[in-house]
């Protein structure tokens, strides 16, 4: 605990800002039903009302309270993005670490497959796959997770290769240690800081990606509150000079900026420690 406080004291303003935003969003996401003044799909007033005492951010294109929609959207968007990132990371990182440690035909095969997939424009590929398979949430999660796991694979593999050429790994191999031990006790502890940072970055990317897909109509479908879809649904308001779509777009931006600020600070610190 003492270390954590010391850590926070030396952080720059940007990182503190990021941490505050992230903590707040997590709280909102977890306690959504308790915090939201109205229901997720409850129609309460006229369409696109401007901010008032009852509705601080006005209403959306169907007359639902914007604040409540944003709060539920936080829960849905963050949860879905988090789950996707966990899967992408789990698959990508484990395969990447194993490929780097075992080498040989397994490494070659996986690397070739990943190379080919990474040569595709992801958005286009996702659009096409989803147009065929439909856009239910499990499908969305699996498709995006698999596509993004390629990047995690590459990073984990590069990290592990840098570590695996160090002599302490040779010393372990020489002893007769099995691959599982080497990955778990020798490589992983050294790769952890970089992997954690990458998790944050991947989350940002996946979060943005799913939001973009929803914005294009192929992600999370209504009436589920999701920030990306909300931008799409409210986009018509711009023509009337109403800034409704900016609210969900703004919250998306806020979260991704915050995570990036924190990850950047984290990376700077680990670079300093290593120097």
């Amino acid at each position: 605990m003492k270390n954590l406080i010391k850590l926070l004291k030396t952080s720059p303003i940007s990182a503190r800002f990021g941490l505050i935003v992230i903590t707040l969003s997590l709280i909102v996401a977890l306690l959504a039903p308790l915090l939201a003044p109205y229901g997720e799909s409850e129609i309460v007033a006229q369409v696109w009302l401007s901010s008032s005492h009852d509705h601080p951010l006005g209403t959306d294109q169907l007359g639902r309270d914007m604040v409540s929609r944003l709060i539920y959207g936080a829960r849905n968007s963050i949860a879905i993005a988090f789950l996707t990132t966990m899967i992408a990371f789990g698959v990508g990182a484990i395969l990447g670490l194993i490929a780097a440690t075992t080498g040989g035909w397994l490494d070659n095969l996986l690397s070739r497959i990943v190379d080919i997939f990474m040569a595709f424009p992801t958005l286009i590929l996702a659009l096409m796959i989803l147009s065929i398979l439909g856009t239910s949430i499990p499908v969305l999660i699996v498709v995006v997770a698999l596509l993004d796991s390629t990047r995690v694979f590459r990073l984990a593999r590069a990290l592990a290769m840098d570590i695996a050429i160090m002599e302490f790994v040779d010393a372990a191999r020489l002893r007769g240690e099995k691959t599982f031990y080497i990955v778990r006790r020798e490589i992983l502890p050294n790769a952890l800081p970089a992997l954690i940072a990458e998790f944050g970055l991947r989350f940002c990317f996946i979060f943005l990606f799913i939001s973009s897909l929803s914005f294009l109509g192929l992600g999370i479908q209504p009436p589920t509150a999701d920030w990306g879809s909300m931008v799409r649904e409210n986009s018509g308001a711009i023509n009337f000079g109403i800034i409704a779509p900016l609210y969900p777009a703004g919250t998306i931006a806020l979260i991704t900026v915050s995570i990036n600020l924190v990850v950047d600070w984290f990376l700077q610190r680990s670079a300093q420690i290593r120097a």
Binding site: E167, F168, R175
Partner: protein, 542 residues
């Protein structure tokens, strides 16, 4: 009143380096003076501050360092007060610098000749044609092959030793008053080093420019320097005429540095029993198809040390990789205790693996930075013997005692240990398995000389006590003299000579062994001249 010949006077130089937001002293009040045509050798171990002083002589401090006190007087001008412009005019033109790694110091995008001509052109000294002529002249005097054409190559197309000489040529382009040589031969093979040394000696004596030669190797500096300064921890230990210091050092530290290369192991008679390790007709190649070993055979007997000597490309490291199973051989077999060992590490039996262990060259990467000392040393014990926590702890304490480290070290991380201490931990890790053979791969090459000597003494003590065999891989003949019973000399993947140490080191021997032995610098200041004379005579006779 200043001596007419005085070029450089540095008084009470103080330099600090930044560590974790604080400034810590690196050089603490050192005086340096240099006259025209003189060669000053600056000697010290790592951290002595010698490189920093060399750079300060040009008024330069590295990123993260600052010159905080003293005066640096070059030909009447205080470099600390000079403007950036004035410094730029002096550097490369009046004071030139030769860096430790030529490969890293040449710009990869420009040809050698372009980089040679850069400063002469800047100062409008000569026309391009004259510059080219001068370059070819220097390349020839530095014994570079193809002096006419080599200037038109890119740095990566030229070998290390040649590149180092090209850098010396570049430094001499403007006929500077002083050349600062910063460990120019440290990274080179011993047989290449002697060529570069003789080239440097040749051009310096001819041109009468002054030089500062920085190195950790007393024998090397003995060949070139008129005066020597011995540094330790940023302070002067001793200073004087080169011959005087080498013959009669006043300080203990200097005497220790001199003694380091003079250790010799007692001769032990050869044994007639079955060897512990038998390497038979090994031929191996890397996955790319590049062959590394041809028909290599030798034996290691119980309780004895076999040194495998060679330079880069000799295949000595590949031999270790074949024996340990990292590089499966294409032909031949390795036998341990009479039993053939599978070429593949993965197929070898755990119990057999326990009997041989390995210690590596770079202690920094040989230990996992995230493991405490107790885990590093304790893991082999739990892995091979499955012992309980108490037993492991007891054994770890025993081992720490054997490697002469305090029991409090168990909870430390590698980042809290020095290079020598880390290497001791590696030795303990190897001992933890109770091996019969330890393969030592250049284990002292990355350590300071005095620390290295302690490690060698420790290894010898352990061998006497535990009757283990060592396979010692090294390029350093002084180490061989200090620790080996038997010697295997390797060149380009083949064994050129092997046998008991005395036999191999006494003539007559293989041509390469002769080359290798004669290229190792000795403390005698006339050694270089003698060797060169002898080689010239041989060439005439042939």
């Amino acid at each position: 009143m200043m001596n007419k010949d005085r070029l450089l006077t540095i008084s009470n130089l103080q330099i600090e380096g930044r560590q974790d937001e604080q400034w810590k002293p690196i050089v603490r009040g050192v005086d340096v003076h240099l006259n025209r045509g003189q060669v000053l050798g600056i000697i010290g171990e790592s951290g002595a501050g010698k490189s920093t002083i060399g750079l300060a002589a040009m008024g330069y401090a590295r990123e993260g360092c600052r010159i905080s006190g003293g005066t640096i007087n070059f030909l009447g001008q205080d470099l600390r007060k000079a403007s950036e412009r004035e410094l730029e005019n002096i550097r490369g033109f009046k004071i030139a610098y030769v860096a430790q790694s030529a490969a890293a110091s040449f710009n990869p995008s420009h040809k050698l000749m372009t980089q040679f001509a850069e400063i002469p052109l800047e100062h409008k000294m000569m026309s391009m044609a004259e510059i080219r002529q001068k370059a070819v002249g220097l390349y020839t005097r530095l014994f570079l092959p193809d002096p006419e054409g080599i200037g038109f190559r890119y740095p990566h197309q030229v070998s290390g030793g040649q590149l180092q000489r090209a850098m010396v040529a570049m430094a001499m382009a403007c006929d500077p008053e002083i050349i600062i040589f910063d460990e120019p031969t440290t990274a080179l093979d011993v047989t290449t080093q002697i060529e570069v040394l003789s080239a440097i000696k040749e051009v310096i004596s001819r041109s009468n420019c002054a030089a500062i030669y920085i190195t950790h190797d007393l024998a090397v500096v003995a060949q070139l320097a008129d005066r020597i300064m011995v540094l330790k921890n940023g302070q002067l230990v001793e200073e004087g005429q080169a011959r005087t210091i080498l013959a009669e050092p006043k300080e203990k530290y200097t005497a220790d540095l001199l003694a380091v290369r003079r250790q010799v192991k007692e001769i032990r008679p050869a044994i007639k029993e079955e060897p512990l390790l038998k390497v038979e007709n090994i031929t191996a190649a890397y996955k790319t198809g590049l062959p590394v070993l041809h028909n290599v055979s030798f034996d290691v007997h119980r309780g004895r040390t076999v040194a495998v000597v060679g330079e880069s490309g000799s295949g000595k490291t590949s031999v270790a990789r074949v024996i340990t199973g990292f590089l499966p051989q294409t032909e031949g077999m390795v036998y341990f205790d009479g039993l053939a060992m599978s070429p593949f590490l993965k197929r070898r039996d755990k119990d057999r693996l326990r009997k041989w262990q390995m210690i590596f060259q770079m202690p920094d990467v040989a230990v996992n930075p995230r493991h405490k000392v107790k885990e590093i040393i304790g893991r082999p014990i739990s892995f091979y013997y499955g012992s309980g926590k108490k037993e492991i702890r007891k054994r770890v304490d025993e081992l720490l005692d054997m490697i002469e480290l305090d029991p409090s070290y168990v909870d430390r991380y590698p980042s809290e240990l020095s290079g020598g201490e880390k290497q001791r931990v590696c030795i303990a890790r190897a001992l933890a398995a109770n091996p019969e053979l330890i393969i030592c791969d250049e284990v002292t090459s990355a350590l300071d000389q005095l620390v290295a000597e302690e490690i060698l003494k420790l290894l010898q003590r352990l061998q006497d006590e535990l009757k283990m065999s060592y396979l010692f891989i090294t390029h350093d003949l002084a180490t061989v003299k200090a620790i080996a019973d038997d010697v295997v000399v390797m060149y380009q993947g083949r064994v050129v000579e092997q046998g008991a140490r005395q036999e191999v080191f006494t003539p007559p021997h293989h041509e390469y062994t002769e080359l290798l032995l004669s290229s190792v610098p000795e403390m005698d200041p006339d050694w270089l001249d003698h060797v060169l004379e002898q080689r010239k005579k041989k060439e005439k006779n042939v």
